[in-house]
Amino acid sequence: MENSTHVTVNTTDCEVVEIPHEIFFAIAMVSLTENLLVVVAVIKNKNLHSPMYCFICSLSIFNMTASVSKTWENIMIVFSKMGHLYSRGELAMKMDDVMDALVCMSFLGSIFSLLAIAVDRYITIFHALRYHTIMTMKRVAAILAGIWTFCAASGVLMAIFSHYTIIMTCFIVLFLISLALIMFLYVHMFLLARTHARKIASLPGNTVHQKHNMKGAITLAILFGVFIACWSPFFFHLFLIMICPLNPYCECYRSLFQVNVILLMCNSVIDPFIYAFRSVELRSTFRKMFCCSGDIFCHAIQCLQLNSNIRLL
């Protein structure tokens, strides 16, 4: 590596911000548990065998894959630091490639699952009558198969050809397109909800339900906010790698790489809360699942449920 072009360089001004492995492990375990619960609940409850829950399930599976691969990577790093791993072998490099591919696949898969959920909700609202003919379970299966195949192929391609800038460009462009689509779909749905709220408010005896729309706005803001806050830093990082690899300012941003990865994992933790756990049916499935094991836990959940019901009535 040539370093003769820079006579006096201080390469440690922006040191890489290291996050302890324990935090990675903790977040990965929490994410794994939550998403596993979601998947089990969706599979167990026949009421949840519908397109929307299939997409939520797919999102959870991708999040689980991301957590598992990140955890595996972490374990490898810990082992190699402790000297247990012979890090020069072919096997190590192959495992590294596999993990890179898995991580890329799960990131892409999460984004596409979020997009699929948004499209499904959009069709539910704007094509309500034909929804069950548009979104048959066969089509859902085909869509999910397509998503999984595309993400797996892209993951493998990215892991192998990661040094080509065209791959990174495609990755970033895919993310931007998905972000734009998600925002468009949800804002359109929100506008329709607002129109309907106004029409309902115009009915005799109704007051303007400002609170409903405000809650809709808050919900949307949370949805977008979490998506953007968790995904953009990582993609901005990729973008800066392509644009300004030598710039010191960019270098300082890139030193926060581990923080950006933690944010991605936090997205895996938060996603069940804003997509899956909002469903009352899913929550009641959890309640039934937990009530089979342990009386104290069951009572606690029942008390919580009772309290929330009392508040609503």
């Binding site: 490099m93 609202i125 749905m189 690899p245």
Partner: protein
Amino acid sequence: MSENSSISNKISRQTASHPDYVWEYEYYDYEPVSFEGLKAHKYSIVIGFWVGLAVFVIFMFFILTLLTKTGAPHQENPEPSEKHNRMNSFAVDFHRSQESDKVLSCEVVEESRSLFHCYINEVEHLGRAKLNSKASGPKHSNLHVRETLGDDELDEEINSLAKFNIPNFVSSEQSSTLGDDDLLLCEQPIILNNNADDSSTLNPQLRSQTPHGLF
């Protein structure tokens, strides 16, 4: 050197100066970057990015709340006759598309939170007196299927909701207070009647989502 450098971000590749394969989160850099002569703060891109992100999200939130407020005050006292006509047309549409064989029931708690709860109450109160339930075929439900926005959308929504078991919707309370749950919670009506026909393809779909309960 530069053409060999890898842009792998996940695991560092072998660097030319370091023979061992290093398992770290670092990525391979081109060459040491000089930090001398920086005009602005070294983390300026980081700060700028996060501030820009926060501003964008807050701006989006304000746009959404602004959208919720525009137009609503004008609708509070419309003409009674105009309202009556509108209600009659809705009631007629509602009657045509009602199918007695598609029965879906909703949990009362969910209904009290749904925007359409209030709406369907009104339709029912006004229209029930002169309507006899008449089973119509599935084709009639498509009479008013339009895919444009505006009032056509509303008709479509009514038709879709006609598939629900309307008598079970009835509740005199018009809840103006939501619980702590956001409107995105009202995604799906819960079937009280667990013996619903599972073999019907319609039920599972509509069972899980209220078209308009997303907000």
